[in-house]
């Protein structure tokens, strides 16, 4: 007879990474994939899924429990985003922003009252937070930001505009990069929280885009928008620093989104090339198709290793911006090629709006510029290496 385990601990636990991936995979397979193409074709955001993600505590996955987060970390965050991107890129991108850029400034610099009004509702999915950097003349070059925040007696007045504003029309509050002193260039930047309800805030009609068609991206305008001084997220002149704190995380999250899309394209292609028969055998028996599958699989695996390495480094507090840039560059390029090859494997059907592969092909273009254009990334990667 077995002895009672008196002395040794009789506790047992699961691996959090596996459980998060499994839970998200189930959600994506059951809730997202069946409706993804339908919502994308309609160009309508699946708000009910966003709500469900809120109930699941996804939006707080990288925040500690003491701010009503889920107590996870960057690794778990990226796993969740990767799975979600396997289902629908626009939903994943909106969720990713809600978890990170849309709320991080608020988390770091917000007051208790701001937590109550914005952060807690955002983590539950009742409010949407957006992140606004880009301006017509300021994309990769942030020293050209022209949106101005002028100090008043009791706060700031913001004037200017942002473009390529993800969730511009739908966001309930925006984390906006402004100039407090244009003469200082990159050293004159600061982030401000601007609720969409602020008088003087407005937005344009959403852009008509090639991909991520369920997201709404637009221009947003600030005309004499008054915000209290507490809404300045971080010190004046430290805007770039605030951004740099999460830049590695933004890049690696983008890489995780690419991995998810890559996986979706590959899964569909594998299934199809086993089912589709030509000249009496499944097309997967032909070597040229096999070469495509092999390339997809190798690139996915390599990308996964890069992402895993970087997320674990971030969780250990290690500096890894250049590795994150490499991972973003590699995974997005791989996903581009995988979605292209998947379409070719599908033949004429890949060109049909009825199948999902066309969506992967279009949505992936979004990742080419979100999180840094590859032309800029290649330059910074090389510069960093050559500077040593």
């Amino acid at each position: 007879m077995t002895q009672p385990n008196k002395n040794k601990s009789n506790k047992i636990r699961s691996n959090a990474e596996d459980m998060v991936r499994f839970t998200m995979a189930q959600f994506v397979d059951k809730e997202v994939i069946p409706v993804a193409t339908e919502y994308d074709n309609k160009g309508e955001f699946p708000q009910h899924l966003f709500k469900k993600l809120g109930k699941m505590g996804i939006f707080g996955i990288r925040y500690p429990k003491k701010v009503r987060g889920s107590g996870g970390n960057t690794t778990l965050y990226c796993i969740a985003m990767q799975e979600l991107a396997r289902g629908l890129m626009s939903l994943a991108a909106t969720t990713a922003m809600q978890c990170l850029m849309g709320t991080n400034g608020l988390y770091l610099y917000g007051t208790k009252e701001m937590y109550e009004e914005f952060l807690y509702p955002a983590l539950k999915g009742d409010k949407m937070g957006a992140f606004q950097l880009t301006e017509p003349n300021a994309g990769s070059d942030l020293s050209a930001v022209r949106t101005k925040a002028e100090k008043t007696r009791d706060g700031y007045v913001i004037n200017g505009m942002k473009t390529w504003s993800t969730s511009g029309p739908k966001g309930d509050f925006h984390t906006v990069l402004c100039q407090t002193d244009p003469s200082l260039g990159l050293r004159g930047l600061a982030f401000f929280l601007v609720p969409a309800s602020t008088p003087g805030f407005s937005y344009s009609k959403p852009f008509d885009l090639l991909g991520t068609r369920t997201s709404s991206i637009s221009e947003i305008y600030f005309k004499d928008c008054h915000v209290p001084v507490e809404y300045r997220l971080g010190e004046e002149g430290r805007g770039l620093g605030v951004l740099l704190k999460i830049l590695s995380e933004i890049r690696i999250m983008t890489a995780a989104l690419a991995l998810g899309l890559h996986r979706a394209a590959m899964d569909d292609a594998i299934k199809y090339c086993k089912e589709r028969e030509q000249f009496g055998k499944p097309i997967g028996k032909y070597q040229l198709i096999q070469a495509k599958i092999a390339n997809m699989a190798v690139n996915l695996e390599a990308g996964q290793l890069m992402v895993d390495k970087v997320t674990h480094m971030i969780d250990q507090g290690k500096e890894c911006l250049n590795l994150a840039s490499m991972a973003k560059y590699f995974t997005v390029e791989s996903a581009c090629s995988a979605s292209d090859e998947a379409m070719r494997i599908f033949g004429g059907y890949g060109y049909s709006m009825e199948y999902s592969v066309q969506r992967y092909y279009r949505d992936n273009r979004f990742l080419l510029y979100g999180g840094g254009t590859h032309e800029v990334l290649q330059t910074t990667i090389a510069r960093e290496i050559l500077s040593k």
Partner: protein, 397 residues
């Protein structure tokens, strides 16, 4: 308790692998190897008589003597004084089992004012009928029925007890088996007496019907099984000296612990095609709404649901929920009737897991025939009405 292989003695004959019910042995480098799935049941040891390459520390379990247990019993399920069809089907099977064992068939009838059913039971195979009537047995309640059957089994000691795998039977049987301390095999599709040990071999589907398992209850008595309705056939019987055994037992309301507040008859809500047993699917070859009304009639007779190809969904004849294929649902019904469907992979990817596929198409070269168990080359609009006609006059319920 473990089983191990003496590698030097193993000649790689794989007999043990075939004998293992749990896939607990596999070949590794030409030699048998025990896997994690081994439950130490010992089935493999006997098959390796030649080489004695399998050893274990299992102590053989003593088989109790059940020679005093006699009779094949059938629980005669009734509701509101009406017998369930499965009761008569079970009596049919019980006659075969009893013959192979040299035993008699008995029916167990519980209820209030149900004696009018006795003759029917005799006429379908029951030599004896055990009858327990009580006001508290008017409606089926688990604990009341369990208590009565427990008492009957302990008093009369049957060898076999069969119960229909209906909602009632699947509620009752497990509780009875636990109460009287015996094993139970659920939802059997085949029952047979093993000539050596006179054990009842009970075969049932597992893993969603992908695997069949044959199970025996050697160490406890009676041997209990529930059997799916419809798989056994009833058979008439002329009993000599039919016997009625009235059994008395005192039941108390407070011991039964459940009370039925209301019984409501209601048609089941529409089934999702993924859960349907029978699917009648139509494609390009079916003539629009009118054609699908005809398919619906067939589906209703078979207790099934309608499904379609993408084209039909796009024409708005059926909703997206009914579309089967790469961009629709993947289903695995027992019977899939493909009407006017050519069999392009875009559709068939969603239905190849069906148990039986029947294809009706006027093009003898349609690829669907390569997937079908049975094909009929002909016009859907002639074949389907003929099917409806023959099924309806066949006295379908």
């Amino acid at each position: 308790m473990t089983i191990w292989i003496i590698e030097e003695k193993c000649d790689g004959c794989q007999r043990c692998i075939r004998a293992c019910p749990y896939e607990g042995i596999e070949m590794k480098d030409g030699i048998a190897s025990v896997t994690e799935r081994c439950t130490s049941c010992g089935s493999c040891i006997e098959t390796c008589k030649k080489n004695h390459a399998i050893e274990s520390d299992i102590k053989p379990r003593k088989v109790p003597d059940f020679s005093d247990r006699e009779g094949v019993w059938v629980f005669a399920e009734q509701t509101d004084g009406k017998l369930a069809g499965v009761a008569l089907e079970l009596l049919g099977k019980a006659q075969e089992l009893a013959k192979d064992m040299g035993h008699k068939v008995s029916a167990v009838l519980l209820g209030k004012d149900v004696s009018h059913l006795i003759q029917t039971l005799h006429d379908h195979g029951a030599q004896n009928v055990y009858l327990v009537e009580d006001d508290l047995l008017e409606n089926f309640r688990t604990i009341a029925y369990t208590t009565v059957i427990e008492d009957l089994v302990l008093t009369y000691k049957p060898n076999i007890l069969l119960i229909g795998a209906t909602a009632l039977g699947r509620d009752l049987a497990p509780r009875v088996s636990r109460r009287i301390g015996t094993g139970l095999t659920a939802d059997c599709t085949q029952l047979a007496i093993d000539p050596d040990e006179k054990l009842m071999f009970q075969t049932r589907p597992a893993f969603g019907g992908n695997v069949m398992a044959t199970i025996a209850c050697r160490y406890a008595s009676p041997q209990m099984a529930t059997v799916r309705p419809g798989v056994m056939e009833s058979a008439p019987y002329k009993p000599e000296n039919p016997m009625l055994i009235r059994h008395e037992i005192s039941l108390k309301e407070q011991d039964i612990r459940t009370k039925i507040l209301e019984k409501v008859t209601q048609k089941k809500p529409g089934t999702d095609i993924s859960d349907a047993t029978v699917i009648v699917a139509g494609g390009r070859g079916v003539n629009g709404e009118k054609g699908f009304a005809m398919l619906k009639e067939l589906a209703d007779i078979l207790g099934g649901e309608l499904a379609c190809t993408r084209l039909i969904m796009e024409q708005g004849i059926l909703p997206h929920d009914a579309q089967v294929g790469q961009t629709g649902k993947t289903i695995r019904p027992e019977i899939y009737i493909a009407c006017g469907i050519s069999g392009a992979v875009q559709h068939t990817a969603g239905m190849t897991g069906s148990r039986y596929i029947i294809a009706i198409n006027n093009d003898p070269l349609a690829p669907i025939f390569k997937l079908a168990n049975w094909g009929i080359v002909g016009d859907v609009h002639e074949i389907v009405p003929e099917l409806i006609k023959q099924l309806s006059c066949g006295g379908a319920s």
